[in-house]
Symmetry: C2
Subunit: 225 residues, 2 copies
């Protein structure tokens, strides 16, 4: 019985890692769809979110049943409660990739990203992928070095986010209000994606080391950085 319990716990961990792959791929494809105004790709990201949502409900239910049936000791219970939180973060990350894809779809056949901002959006997409890939490693292997790198990658994300605002506010730029709205929202989606991945990694670090980080600091706004 005890062995089956740990098998089921391992299966939950494997599902969480799978979710990091799915939402990482979703954000990567959403970024490409946004930059290339690729409608088919955007649609595929939007459709694929259902898979993430199904996995979310599945992990939730399996974790709950494991708690209810096995009455785990405090340490194992802590792992399960933490899994419930991580799966919620990952589900939300899927939504954020979907939001980026929806901006691409909304502006098709035009592109939502003005030429001057392409490289920043590209880098935000890449930072998102690095962060979520590392979150997967942290879940799978409790790799605390990767957790540390991930925090640095998220600093990069925040820097890119501020850069995006600086470009929007540059008096030389006049891409119009609609574009400013799109870029403001897209920037926010990338930044929140990073925050949730940081949150996932910190939860694992807490399980391993007992050191609790505070939740990610509130997003830095335009002129605060």
């Amino acid at each position: 019985m005890r062995d089956q319990y740990h098998e089921e716990l391992d299966a939950i961990t494997a599902s969480l890692v799978e979710m990091t792959n799915l939402v990482g791929s979703a954000m990567s494809r959403a970024t490409t769809a946004l930059l290339d105004a690729d409608l088919a790709l955007a649609e595929s990201v939007i459709a694929a979110d259902e898979t993430v949502d199904a996995l979310y409900r599945d992990v939730e239910e399996r974790a709950f049943l494991l708690m209810a049936r096995q009455q785990p000791v405090a340490g194992d219970l802590r792992i399960l409660v933490t899994s419930l939180r991580m799966v919620a973060d990952l589900e939300r990350m899927g939504d954020l990739a979907l939001h980026v894809a929806k901006i691409a779809r909304m502006r098709y056949p035009a592109t939502a990203v003005p030429p001057a901002m392409r490289s920043t959006i590209l880098e935000m997409g890449q930072a998102a992928q690095r962060i979520v890939a590392k979150a997967g490693s942290v879940i799978a292997s409790k790799d605390l070095q990767k957790a540390k790198e991930l925090e640095a990658d998220d600093d990069v994300m925040d820097r890119l986010h501020r850069q995006l605002f600086a470009m929007l506010l540059d008096p030389a730029w006049d891409g119009g209000i609609e574009c400013a709205i799109d870029i403001t929202l897209a920037g926010r989606y990338y930044e929140r994606f990073g925050d949730h991945a940081v949150s996932v990694a910190r939860r694992v670090v807490y399980l391993v080391t007992g050191e609790r980080h505070e939740p990610p600091a509130p997003a830095v706004l335009v002129s605060e950085g």
Copy 2:
């Protein structure tokens, strides 16, 4: 022992209701600070978020200890797991009120809200208050009628959110990019605040009726509504 368990469970419910009061008050004051460019009020909202965060950590820990010590049966365990999710929603709502207050602080002594948009922002603030007050009632008294009203209030919020975008995109309006960014972000904060309150109420409805609603639909973007 059993009685003490239910007392502790009731105390957790009371703390959740208290959190709805705190974040409702925070969003109300943040809205006033935003509309009146009231720096002192904005600072008080920002400072008060620590109380919400402390309560969040406290409820989390109490719920966890109750699970670990009492090994509750499935029904009671479901209540505790749900409480963990609700407290996370409420903590996030506090952050969103804080974000609104930070916009007010950032633009002080100017106001971030142009005259034409004041009434819409005011109504979004009021909708936020109604929604979170009803979420409190739903938690406290399992009032399913209030849960239904809350869904309707959130539809109002979504309508106001679309209205805000329509005003920003009106060719007659030219408040500038900075203002468009502020209003885009503020609009998003109100809308997410409403979503989280809806999520809290739906979790209670699920506990009471067993009817599961899907998570709130992804935010409606500018030209999708």
